[in-house]
């Protein structure tokens, strides 16, 4: 099972590593680093799965997520939220904003791969 993944993350070496592991499995991976234009990029790319960092330059990942959920075309889009915090309230915040899944940094490659597969299959 493969498809298109849009990775919205500002850390270039994380982008490179995730691109590598997903591409190796046959996924087509695009990346985007700016919070301000992230929603527009999601609409243009129409990916199967979005991996979204919570803290981005320009705009918070939670804001982006909320806007995507308000739009009918992206309301059900599988979105994996990445955050550097793991407290219960951060998880709740991600869930309230509409994250399909939530993953705390530092995560493993296998965890990302499993999450993307699961989201595409859901």
């Amino acid at each position: 099972m493969t498809g298109q993944v849009l990775l919205i993350e500002d850390e270039p070496n994380i982008i490179e590593a995730i691109k590598f592991i997903l591409s190796r499995e046959g996924w087509q991976v695009f990346s985007h680093s700016n919070g301000d234009t992230a929603v527009q990029t999601v609409r243009e790319r129409a990916p199967d799965v979005v991996i979204l960092d919570a803290m981005l330059p320009g705009r918070s990942g939670y804001d982006i997520l909320r806007e995507l959920r308000e739009s009918t075309e992206t309301a059900a889009l599988p979105i994996l939220m990445l955050t550097a915090r793991g407290q219960t309230k951060d998880r709740e915040m991600a869930e309230r904003a509409g994250a399909s899944r939530f993953m705390t940094k530092p995560f493993s490659n296998a965890e990302v791969l499993d999450a993307v597969r699961a989201l595409k299959g859901a």
């Binding site: 850390e11 994380i14 490179e16 590598f20 550097a84 493993s108």
Partner: protein, 436 residues
């Protein structure tokens, strides 16, 4: 129950506490036991001579029997009860409780105040963790960098061949990220250890006083004048102690009183003149002025830039090693919380009371600037025959003079938590900078 009807209850409590029989107290006061019984159960109001007689027989001040608990104590109990409305505290008997058990009531009120203070500290620290943008950004960057390193390392560690170009790229990424991680970690540690004003909001009296002294640059002009010491201390306390808790003000008053004594014994003009001849060397200044070295150290720490252009740092600890005064230098920070590095001469001085220790240090993880440290521990309080004295240690730190150093500076840390040296006999806990 109104307060003025509880005199009998207080008489009864006092009598029982003294294990005195009702009949004995009645006899001493010249009344019958049955009448005293009515008084003790608040069925007869008393005053005048009988109250005085009963108070005398019980060996207490009459007001202790007649006035009962203070309004503040009762208000404190009501606040404690309002914190836990479901507890079913008998609010209508608050006055009676405070009157009959003033000691326990005071314990309850003090405990409630302590709980409130601790809750506030937790709230401030939690709030800082959640909302401090610098802290959140640093933690996010650290964890993102760790994630990048982990991902790249895990790709390289997988079995099977990886394209040499990718391999080289991930190696380079790990190298770059590890350097960035070290830099971010160092920045985070500096930030957490920094003397920022927010930390004072955690509210211990020592922190409040540290912050007040820091704002005053450790110099108190009021105490450098010819004013009466008591007036000058009160004036300085009014200025520096504004907004501090009563405990912090008590600490500050003690510090100001000592400052006033030091200033009287070694006036600024005398020290300025001696500094011109000997420089900021406590031992040499002691020889010139006749003031003991630890007093010279305290005076040097209190000098303004026009007297001492290059400031000195000073740490003072009690016999348990707890810092009671801290004036750090940029190249020699001192921990705000917890214990400092046990290798500091400050602590060695406690092992060798009266001996004046001097040597050069370098604090690991800093700029590598050599620091001259001089330390001495002396007894505090009056000498008591056949009793071991308590000691207090002083350590003055200043940039090392740079000449005559015949051996390398001793390496010390700040605290174990942020010290990179793994093999150290003084280590109390693992370091967050450990290479292991």
């Amino acid at each position: 129950m109104p307060r003025d009807t509880l005199t009998g209850s207080r008489i009864r409590e006092r009598r029982i506490a003294q294990e005195m029989k009702q009949a004995d107290l009645a006899r001493a006061a010249g009344i019958s036991a049955s009448y005293l019984n009515l008084i003790e159960h608040n069925k007869r109001r008393i005053g005048g001579k009988l109250l005085l007689d009963l108070a005398e027989a019980l060996g207490v001040e009459p007001t202790h029997l007649s006035e009962g608990a203070g309004a503040a104590l009762i208000a404190g109990l009501r606040e404690a009860a309002s914190d836990l409305p479901e507890s079913g505290a008998e609010l209508d008997r608050t006055d009676e409780f405070a009157g009959r058990f003033p000691g326990w009531a005071a314990v309850l009120v003090a405990t409630r105040a302590r709980v409130t203070q601790l809750e506030r500290s937790v709230e401030v620290l939690s709030d800082r963790m959640t909302h401090d943008p610098n802290l959140a950004a640093s933690l996010h960057e650290m964890l993102s960098t760790v994630t990048a390193i982990r991902s790249a390392a895990s790709i390289l560690a997988e079995p099977g061949e990886i394209d040499p170009d990718w391999q080289a790229r991930f190696h380079r990424n790990i190298y770059e990220d590890s350097a960035r991680l070290a830099e971010t970690a160092r920045g985070l540690v500096t930030y957490l250890e920094a003397d920022n004003a927010q930390a004072t909001e955690t509210g211990t009296p020592q922190e409040e006083m540290d912050s007040a002294l820091e704002k005053a640059a450790h110099h108190v002009p009021e105490l450098e004048t010819e004013l009466q010491a008591g007036e000058a201390v009160s004036a300085a306390l009014a200025r520096l102690g504004r907004g501090l808790s009563s405990s912090a003000r008590a600490l500050l008053r003690g510090w100001l009183e000592r400052y006033a004594q030091d200033a009287a014994a070694l006036p600024m003009a005398v020290l300025r003149e001696a500094l011109g001849r000997a420089g900021p060397d406590p031992l040499a200044l002691s020889g010139l002025t006749g003031a003991e070295p630890v007093r010279v150290m305290r005076r040097l720490a209190a000098m303004p830039p026009e007297v001492l252009p290059d400031p000195v740092g000073l740490a003072i600890c009690d016999g348990s090693g707890v810092l009671s005064y801290r004036k750090p230098l940029p190249d020699f920070p001192m921990p705000r919380f917890g214990a400092a590095c046990p290798l500091w001469p400050l602590y060695k001085a406690l092992n060798r009371p009266h001996v004046y220790l001097a040597g050069d240090l370098v604090q690991l993880g800093r700029s590598g600037t050599a620091i001259r440290a001089e330390a001495q521990a002396l007894p505090v309080g009056p000498l008591v025959a056949n009793a071991e004295p308590l000691y207090e240690a002083h350590m003055l730190v200043r940039p090392a003079p740079g000449h005559g150093a015949d051996k390398a500076p001793q390496e010390v840390g700040l605290t174990c938590r942020v010290c990179p040296r793994d093999a150290c006999p003084g280590r109390r806990e693992p370091s967050i900078l450990s290479s292991r």
